[in-house]
């Protein structure tokens, strides 16, 4: 039972990280980026190129990945969001799906179909307590999630940038009229969103291996987590992610492993019926 809790929370932490990346972009431009999972995959492969192919120290590989992902986020925005801004949101959403497919095939061409593992930045024997095993990488994942949650909370609620983001999300045209650098704010949001996906990719690759198609399922779970927690809601993304990880793990153990993926969508529908705005409510900026 204890082991299931640990493994469920570890899986949920990954889902939560994907959802936090989604949230960053959603809270600025009110668009769901369905290529978030593929950005995660890209982060994992950039990390592998640094740490495995070029044998760089793992900390250097992480730093390069972060910088590369920030750039990827800005390019992504320039290709996907800017040409279609002001058009119906579904057009942008469809374009993010298309971009996800492009990224997947691009990764296949560049890195090939082989699954590859990335070394964990932390080493050491796993902790064992009452028969429950917790690996150092799992502890690192929990700590990273907690740190990102705190930083993102401060960024969104206590800084000038957070206020600019909220203003941009509420009314883009008015924000521009009052002198807010809208394009720069959106670019920073896309860069942060992609960096968060990159971190998720770097955390996933040591335990789940990296392969070009790894992002599809994780991106979809990040979306489910956002719906469960309430779209754009920071605690909702984290609690929703951990909740989904536990549901999947316990469902697979005690009900049936055949329907593991189905649990996510059953829970999502159930939560939406009981709480139409998610467990923690949606970000209010869309409604203002």
């Amino acid at each position: 039972m204890g082991q299931l809790v640990v493994n469920g929370l570890a899986l949920g932490s990954i889902y939560a990280l994907v959802a936090l990346g989604l949230l960053m972009i959603f809270n600025t431009v009110q668009i769901v980026n369905f290529a978030q999972g593929q950005l995660l995959m890209l982060g994992a492969f950039i990390g592998i190129s640094g740490a495995v192919t070029h044998e760089l120290p793992i900390a250097t590989a992480w730093a390069i990945t972060m910088a590369a992902m920030a750039l990827v986020g800005i390019v992504f925005m320039a290709l996907v969001y800017f040409p279609l801004r002001g058009r119906p949101p579904f057009l942008v959403i469809l374009t993010t799906i298309a971009m996800g497919i492009v990224l997947e095939n691009l990764a296949l061409i560049i890195w090939g179909p082989l699954p590859v593992s990335l070394p964990s930045p932390v080493r050491g024997a796993p902790l064992r307590f009452l028969g429950v095993v917790v690996s150092m990488h799992q502890l690192f994942t929990f700590a990273t999630l907690a740190a990102i949650l705190l930083l993102q909370y401060i960024l969104l609620t206590k800084t000038r940038f957070g206020i600019l983001m909220q203003a941009t999300a509420q009314d883009l045209h008015t924000a521009r009229l009052v002198g807010i650098p809208v394009s720069r704010t959106i670019a920073v949001a896309f860069a942060f969103g992609a960096m968060l996906s990159g971190i998720a990719g770097l955390l996933v690759a040591p335990i789940f291996l990296a392969e070009p198609t790894m992002g599809g399922s994780l991106g979809l779970k990040g979306f489910v987590v956002s719906v469960i927690g309430g779209f754009g809601n920071l605690p909702g993304a984290v609690i929703g992610g951990l909740f989904l990880g536990l549901i999947e793990t316990f469902g697979a153990r005690y009900i049936s492993s055949n329907f593991r993926d189905a649990y996510a969508f059953i829970v999502m529908i159930g939560v939406r019926v009981a709480w139409p705005r998610g467990l923690f409510g949606e970000n209010s900026s869309a409604k203002v």
Partner: protein, 389 residues
Amino acid sequence: MLFSATTKHLTLQTAILGSLFAHLIASADAAPAACPSPIPLGLTTALTGNLALLGTQARNGAEFAVDEINKNGGIAGKQLALSIEDTGASSTDALNAMNRILEGKPLIIFGSMISPHIFAQTEVVTKSETPFLVGATNAKVTSQGSKWLFRTHAHDGQLADLIPTYLVKSLGKTKPGIMAVADDYGLGASKGIQAALAKLGVSPVAITSYAPSDKDMSAQLLEIKDKGADSLILFGRPADVTLVLKQMSDLGIKLTTIGNSSMVAQTTLNNLSAAEADGGYAIGGQIPQTSKDAKITDWSKRVFDKYKVPADNFTVSYHDTVYLLKDIIEKTGCDKAAIRDALAATKNWQGMLISYTADSLGDLTHTLGIYRNKGKTPELIGPINESGY
């Protein structure tokens, strides 16, 4: 008078033409049918999507053999032209890919190892009356009633029978847990394994599965452990088999594990530590890594240098298939029906690692390999024949 002379002239002409025609027919009986230049071949396989790792092995094996044959002068001086179409991961796309291949009127078509794709394609290929050689592993692929379809790789029916038998009779394990990938490939095998275990009087303590996109199998592993299993039958693809073995090690679960050839695939072993891989058994199509033959070692190296993907049992199978066809075309020429008949009559044709013999269904592979990982190195325990061979 004039009429009579003309008639005589025509009769003589007819006689000469008739004799020439008869001579031509007699020659045609003896000589192989002429081949076009280049000789058109088609291949549909998954080069994109989540089955790309599997699908590229078919492309690598077939294309490498075609390139070798062309470099050595082709078949009777004629080069081979291999057209390749990507099926992606969907059966609908597989059918579309096959229709595009058929437009090129190939002499022979190679299908992939992905059974749902072959089920979707068999009807149109059969209607086109073109020999269709596949590596698809669902046992029922060759039971579709197509006399044009042949399989040159081991199938799940053989594995489902041999794996439980070896586990129970040779390894002495009687409380296995089963874990299989939840798709046509894994679930079909899981059912077969359960049936074979029942025949041996053994009940699995737990029957579990995981979705092809699943990354965390710890819940299934804990269930198998909690229910007191003494062994694990694992049936999946290299990427997910790697994860299962890693997670078993992380959770401290030590069970005798036996599975399909993914257990010993180089792509699996590359991502495992020696401790994680050690002791795993596999039964499946024969792999080139364990061969001591310098020619095969050199071939594996050249394949890897070209494609950056280690050759596996499928690469060997598709490579052998092309060479088998080369031998057949050299004897029969480029007549599709003659090629089909020659394939159906194949007996003890020696491939790279095994020999091929066609049975009444069109299955040509009847010898598999039993392997055990010593650290990260697979070792061939020995070949094993399917029941009745």
